[in-house]
Amino acid sequence: MQGHYNYVFDNITDTYNFTTRNDILYRVAFVVDETFSSISGEEIPNIYQLVVEKANDETEPLDSRVSATIENIIERFFNDERNALIYICSDTDNKANLRNKVFNRWYQKSKYKDVIFKIEKALPIKSPGFPEQQIYTSFMFHKQNPNYKKLKEIYNKIDDVLNNDK
């Protein structure tokens, strides 16, 4: 298997960037996420939302080095055991379920699944003025995370409130 692409943090865009052999630029952003703090009412740091996107709309031929690169980024991210990652697939283009399956498949193949815990839930979100949409969420954290129990408890509570308390 080929290795990952080299990537660098761009201080101007605040993203990790890499370019593929097909000259396609990918940017990976970590968005500070305060969802768990808002819901629990206590400050829970080190939670980020992962956003991976091509810088333009060119079609990328299958390239296993792209997923290898993202995997490497995630692996390094979890070198700090306090970090936690949330990945969401919203259904803005009706491809959420497909993206969610791709992400889950990646995790199942990952050699890090023994140390990185992942839970996923499909959450029904109904915002005022908009039809209900299903949001596929994956939440990942290190098994040595000092907030392990608290994170899991909050995440399960979210599911409980949204799915069982309509």
């Binding site: 500070v32 980020y48 919203s90």
Partner: protein, 50 residues
């Protein structure tokens, strides 16, 4: 349903709606459709955790 639970439900929906909105804003930013300044104004913070 207790008041506390109603508040929690509202907070959760509001938080997840923001999460989805933040993701779309960041995707637009990466594609050059909006600026870092514009997303920062929305309260979005990009980090360098590696």
């Amino acid at each position: 349903m207790s008041n506390k639970k109603e508040i929690n439900r509202d907070v959760i929906i509001k938080s997840f709606t923001k999460m989805v909105s933040d993701k779309e804003s960041v995707r637009a930013y990466i594609k050059g459709e909006t600026t870092l300044k514009a997303i920062t104004k929305k309260g979005i913070k990009l980090a360098r955790p590696l």
